[in-house]
């Protein structure tokens, strides 16, 4: 297990190094380079020159990278001159709300997709299976902004039950639960569509195993076979799936947040794109990349804990 952990962590560190290189390259892709990114588009040449000298931006690129990354590692992601606030404080303010959105959507999606996929596998090729598969495919093909819009029309306009906008940043989330419903529902439905397909095929594979036949032969009911034997085994790939879905869920959250005006990291990023607030955008990209790498690392570690066959490869 230790060797497996070390190997996986090393790989994650290498990928993180790559992510930081990509962000560094993006920083230098900007018209005018990092100076203009920080000082704004209308910065005059002399202040850019002073800025470059102060921050060592006239040094060779490798040295600049080392200086930049040592700041990042110490937790300094830069300063947003547009919002007059450090990128760190912006992210610390917005990330918890994004975690509420993505976390609840992911948990709900697992809660729905696991039994749904298992039942589809049991009733394979029945009408119900086709209907669920069809809906899953439609939701899977549906851009999140359109699905969210449909939910707004149905549940805010035709049947005015839930508010069409997300919560506001000024009050705590717990006091605005109705505002959370539609954003969370949108992200959940899209994620269910993704998960249930995998759950169905994973359950199908397990249903064909010998231990299922043994359990049936012992006289276990179909529900017992399902919940005691098939689902726990079929859940294994779901660990990996959730870990690998982090980029998809974060990307979905970005669109959901901008549609519902939900004050999270995605909305922060989108607003930054509208105002050319590059330090905020790059800081967010770094954090998102870190989350994705951590997601897949944790998934691999959990998988190694849950399934001893993996770590002995």
């Amino acid at each position: 297990m230790t060797a497996y952990l070390i190997r996986r962590t090393l790989h994650a560190l290498i990928v993180l190094f790559g992510v930081s290189l990509i962000v560094f390259v993006l920083l230098h892709l900007l018209p005018g380079g990092p100076a203009r990114a920080s000082l704004g588009v209308r910065a005059n040449p002399s202040s850019i020159k002073a800025f470059n000298a102060e921050y060592g931006l006239n040094q060779p690129l490798p040295i600049q990278y080392v200086e930049w990354i040592s700041q990042v590692i110490r937790g300094n992601l830069g300063f947003s001159y547009k919002l007059n606030q450090s990128v760190n404080s912006l992210l610390i303010e917005n990330i918890p709300r994004t975690l509420v959105l993505t976390g609840s959507a992911t948990l709900l999606a697992i809660g729905v997709a696991v039994p749904l996929g298992a039942l589809q596998a049991v009733r394979r090729n029945s009408a119900a299976d086709y209907v669920v598969t069809g809906f899953a495919l439609i939701f899977y093909s549906m851009p999140s902004f359109f699905l969210g819009l449909v939910l707004i029309i149905v549940f805010s306009d035709v049947l005015p039950i839930f508010p069409p906008t997300g919560p506001t940043a000024t009050a705590p989330l717990l006091t605005q639960l109705p505002n959370l419903v539609l954003p969370v529902a949108t992200l959940t439905l899209i994620t269910v569509a993704l998960f249930s397909r995998y759950m169905r095929s994973s359950a199908l594979e397990n249903l064909a195993e010998d231990y299922v036949r043994t359990a049936k032969a012992k006289g276990a009911s179909i529900l017992r076979v399902l919940f005691r034997h098939v689902i726990p085994n079929a859940l294994l790939p779901v660990i990996t799936l959730v870990g690998l879905s982090v980029p998809g869920i974060l990307g979905g959250a970005l669109i959901v947040e901008s549609l519902f005006n939900y004050p999270g990291m995605g909305l922060l990023f989108w607003n930054a794109a509208q105002t050319e607030d590059f330090p905020t955008m790059l800081g967010t990209i770094l954090v998102v990349g870190l989350a994705v790498v951590l997601g897949s690392l944790l998934a691999d570690i959990f998988y190694g804990v849950a399934d001893p066959r993996v770590r002995h490869q």
Binding site: I14, G18, V19, L137, M142, V150, G248, G251, L254, A273
Partner: protein, 310 residues
């Protein structure tokens, strides 16, 4: 295709088996191709996908021949009109005809999506083959680049790149393709890794074929199935990417039309009851994406049959 690896060897006993095998494999690959086609055509969902996609191509490219609209100049006097005989799907907030705009938006979307699929697949194919064939250091360097780029959710990078570049058809195509090649490169490399240990590659190498020849003659044709399936899914993903960027206001600016920006415009009128500004554009996106996904799944099943036979 057959027999050009052995100069002057015709008729000698020692090469007869190779010729027989080559001839046999030629026959077999023809029948396999036929089997693949049959399996694909028997798949009702795949056929439905083909019909949807073909329908959209006709609608977007031939539609404007029969249904003339002005998609350049705005006309606020006829803004937000409900469907009528003059404007079959009504007009939007600046007076563009919605049905004509669906055609114009679809044209750009389909062109970009197809171009992205071709471009990204080609890059992915080359990258994956080179990484798979070259061993150790080069391979792991190339794949770590892919890992790192995939660690950043595509939409974040797309938004970032679009906010520093001025979006046009070309910019959008290259930006989306710049991210879309990552997945096929992984798929191709994985297949190349297993293929390169197979006896026929070894045989070819023993016969004196160089790396380039092995890649072009043996690896590329063999990974082509996987790549084709993935390319179909990529068209669907690119349609979604274009729509999402346009919805977020980072697509090609007006007067260029796009289903995503049409929807974004419709959002403002959700509670005004202007359904014609929301549903048609949304349904178009979903239908085209579903269509390409159906084709992709049908292709995958059909090629699966081929793999089982081989």
């Amino acid at each position: 295709m057959i027999g050009n690896e052995r100069p002057g060897g015709k008729g000698t006993a020692s090469v007869a088996p190779a010729e027989v095998i080559a001839a046999e494999s030629g026959v077999r690959s023809a029948s396999l191709r036929k089997a693949t086609l049959i399996v694909f055509l028997q798949n009702r969902l795949a056929l439905a996908g083909l019909v949807i996609v073909a329908g959209f191509f006709l609608f977007c490219f031939l539609g404007p021949v029969f249904y003339h609209t002005n998609q350049i100049a705005t006309n606020v006097q006829i803004a937000n009109q409900p469907p009528s005989l003059k404007h079959l799907l009504g007009t939007d907030s600046v007076g563009y005809d919605e049905l004509g705009r669906l055609m114009a938006g679809g044209r750009i979307t389909l062109l970009i999506a197809l171009a992205v699929a071709v471009l990204a697949t080609s890059i992915g194919l080359i990258w994956g083959c080179v990484a798979g064939v070259s061993r150790s250091a080069v391979d792991s360097l190339m794949m770590r680049i892919v890992d790192a780029a995939l660690a950043i959710p595509g939409i974040f990078l797309l938004i970032f790149l679009n906010s520093i570049l001025k979006p046009s058809v070309f910019v959008l195509t290259f930006v989306i393709a710049a991210l879309a090649w990552l997945v096929p490169s992984r798929l191709v490399r994985a297949e190349v890794l297993s293929l390169r240990e197979r006896p026929f590659i070894e045989a070819s190498r023993t016969a004196g074929a160089n790396g380039v020849r092995i890649v072009l003659r043996h690896l590329v044709p063999n990974v082509f199935g996987t790549v084709a399936v993935n390319a179909t899914f990529q068209v669907a993903d690119a349609v979604l990417a274009v729509a999402a960027l346009s919805f977020l206001g980072l697509g090609i600016p007006p007067p260029a039309a796009n289903w995503g920006s049409m929807l974004a415009n419709g959002v403002n009128y959700t509670f005004a009851g202007y359904w014609w500004q929301i549903w048609p554009a949304g349904i178009c996106i979903v239908a085209v994406v579903v269509g390409f996904n159906f084709i992709g799944e049908g292709l995958r099943d059909a090629i699966d049959v081929r793999l089982r036979a081989a």
